[in-house]
Point group: C2
DNA sequence: CGGTCAATTCAAAGCGCTTTGGCTGCGGTT
DNA sequence: AACCGCAGCCAAAGCGCTTTGAATTGACCG
């Protein structure tokens, strides 16, 4: 069932039917009703390829997905995706993933833009001075960055959580509890969020004339094993930290394991705070000692990004709006006063 | 730069240029070279919408993604996706995710098929007698199922791992080690894989005239908390199992925690074997006691599904090929002889 | 009563590509 | 010398939709 068939069936022109369906005003209300009705009854659905060709709009949101044996997509991605799906579902948007070799990202963005394969894209895990953002800006393809980038020299639309504030809060709490040596187990510093988190923690310490020496920092892939290794290293020196702030729940698993192996009791000997992106399958309150966290739902962020992308596509949003979400500090049993 | 421009530029017809580019034989080799050359030099890329409209082929693989606040996409999905990406990337295929309310899946499949938005789809997490499979079969949209379904009354193309064999092996090992009471912490039985795993374990026990009573089985969502709860229940009775087989690494986290709380030593008091889908961020060898697993890379499966979908699209594969992958049993320190 | 205007409707021109159905030469046949 | 067959190329017809520019109609105006 296509437009032509439908319109002859109704003894109307394709023009009118098309307009009736797309809500144009210059169509008689009764005619519109007839058309809508017939369309529904015959299950008419406009062919998206044809529509795309005619309008140049794709009705899709794109994501350039770096892949390759060396690239691990982390589990945060799927939560974020769920969030985008939550929004997209109600707005007839589909999501297109374009898998790409890590070193061909640029080509892929260009292709998506040139072909108008998608109306907008989102950029995740931005790095400082991220080249993708520069490129997108120049291509004129609508986009939203999930996270932030620094040193780009222009404003761009993003949504991010207040990573700096989150870790500043975490640090402040620990200091108030008497901790003086606080360790940081972070994601890789090539990611902006990790830079911000370090900055936040450092600042809370500086506010109390305390230091965050390099020896107390580890920055690496956010895996269970990474957390474990880092914690072993930090905790195996004589002057070990009495508290650790850590960038993900998965890393925290490794931290707990390391503490156990070293015979350190949480929170008596070691306080731990981790950032929680809110996974349905791993919850901080279920850790062997309920884990204090800085919490922000990455899924909610996904939904919001989709919403803003839709706004940019429709032209409702045009300026480089910066949106920073506050982060909740959830105090749980894994923090306590510093051992003395 | 479009076909028309390119062809006038070359003083050739669109027909010839199109054919040259698409490798049709009725084009002079030298002409073809010239065309190819000019196309590359000017960065010509055929507009996919136009091509789609003309050919009816989409160049995309679809996935109907159930979403909604009640629906959690589990982290396996992203690994699977990575795998599809690994293949798709080299073959110019994009992936389209159509987020859908759980109860509108059927509509979405129909839409994808009717509009030819995608050339093929894959179906994940199949249930027994899965209606989606029935529907796809009838719609004539190429598809591959990742996993199996039973009781459909016809053959369909799928790829699955040998869940039954895996858990049979796991059971056999435990029995040989002297275990007589073996518990099962499974995913929900609405999923076919869970049915197969239970069947496999039951069979290994039956081979030795042993029973798998309902009291030793828990089937539920595969979360850390689920694993914990189930393990607490199984282990809190007087006649507790001496071994537990468990359907996922994430659940195993909860099992370990429960054992720790109950003062049970792994493997002295309790042997544990879990199924490992191979996550880069959580590895069985890094558990507090290295965890024995039945292992199969879900990412590899994703790549293979993409490959077979491509084959079905091109017509290279037509029959309902069933592909079942063997599963490796990785024996590690979490299993030992039964306590006596 | 001719003319104007707003409300509706329509025919037709694209959008950029693939594909059908020729057409043109030229070497080779008979 | 007339005829074939084939390699190579082309014009034009779609694919199904949106949108431009015009036509039609009836109400309303002076």
């Amino acid at each position: 069932m296509n437009l032509k068939q439908l319109s002859t069936m109704l003894a109307l022109s394709q023009t009118t039917v098309s307009r009736a369906l797309n809500g144009y005003p210059e169509v008689n209300e009764e005619t519109r009703r007839r058309v809508m009705d017939a369309a529904k009854r015959h299950g008419y659905r406009p062919n998206p390829s044809a529509r795309r060709l005619a309008t140049g709009k794709a009705g899709m949101i794109g994501y350039v997905m770096p892949t390759g044996s060396a690239v691990d997509i982390d589990p945060h991605f799927v939560e974020f995706l769920s969030g985008m799906g939550d929004y997209a579902r109600h707005h007839g948007l589909d999501l297109v993933l374009s898998p790409t070799d890590a070193d061909e990202e640029e080509t892929t963005y260009r292709r998506l833009a040139a072909n108008k394969q998608v109306d907008a894209v989102y950029v995740s895990a931005p790095r400082p001075a991220d080249r993708r953002i520069k490129l997108l800006n120049q291509l004129g393809l609508p986009y939203i960055v999930h996270g932030r980038s620094e040193g780009l020299g222009f404003d761009f639309p993003f949504i991010d959580i207040d990573n700096e504030g989150a870790f500043r809060q975490a640090g402040r709490l620990l200091i108030e509890l008497g901790h003086r040596r606080v360790g940081l187990i972070n994601g890789e510093l090539s990611q902006t969020f990790a830079v911000f988190r370090e900055r936040g923690l450092r600042q809370s310490l500086a506010d109390h004339r305390l230091d965050l020496p390099q020896s107390l920092i580890r920055s690496q892939a956010m895996t269970d094993e990474g957390g474990y290794r880092a914690a072993r290293e930090l905790l195996s020196v004589p002057d070990r930290p009495t508290a650790i702030v850590c960038s993900s729940l998965i890393m925290a698993l490794g931290v707990f394991r390391a503490a156990r192996e070293l015979g350190l009791d949480i929170p008596r000997d070691l306080s731990v705070i981790a950032h929680d992106d809110v996974f349905p399958w791993l919850k901080p309150e279920n850790f062997s000692v309920p884990l204090a966290t800085t919490r922000s739902s990455i899924r909610a962020a996904g939904a919001r990004v989709a919403e803003r992308l839709a706004a940019r596509i429709s032209g409702a949003e045009t300026s480089p709006v910066a949106e920073v979400w506050p982060v909740d500090l959830m105090v749980r049993a894994s923090v306590a006063g510093a051992p003395r």
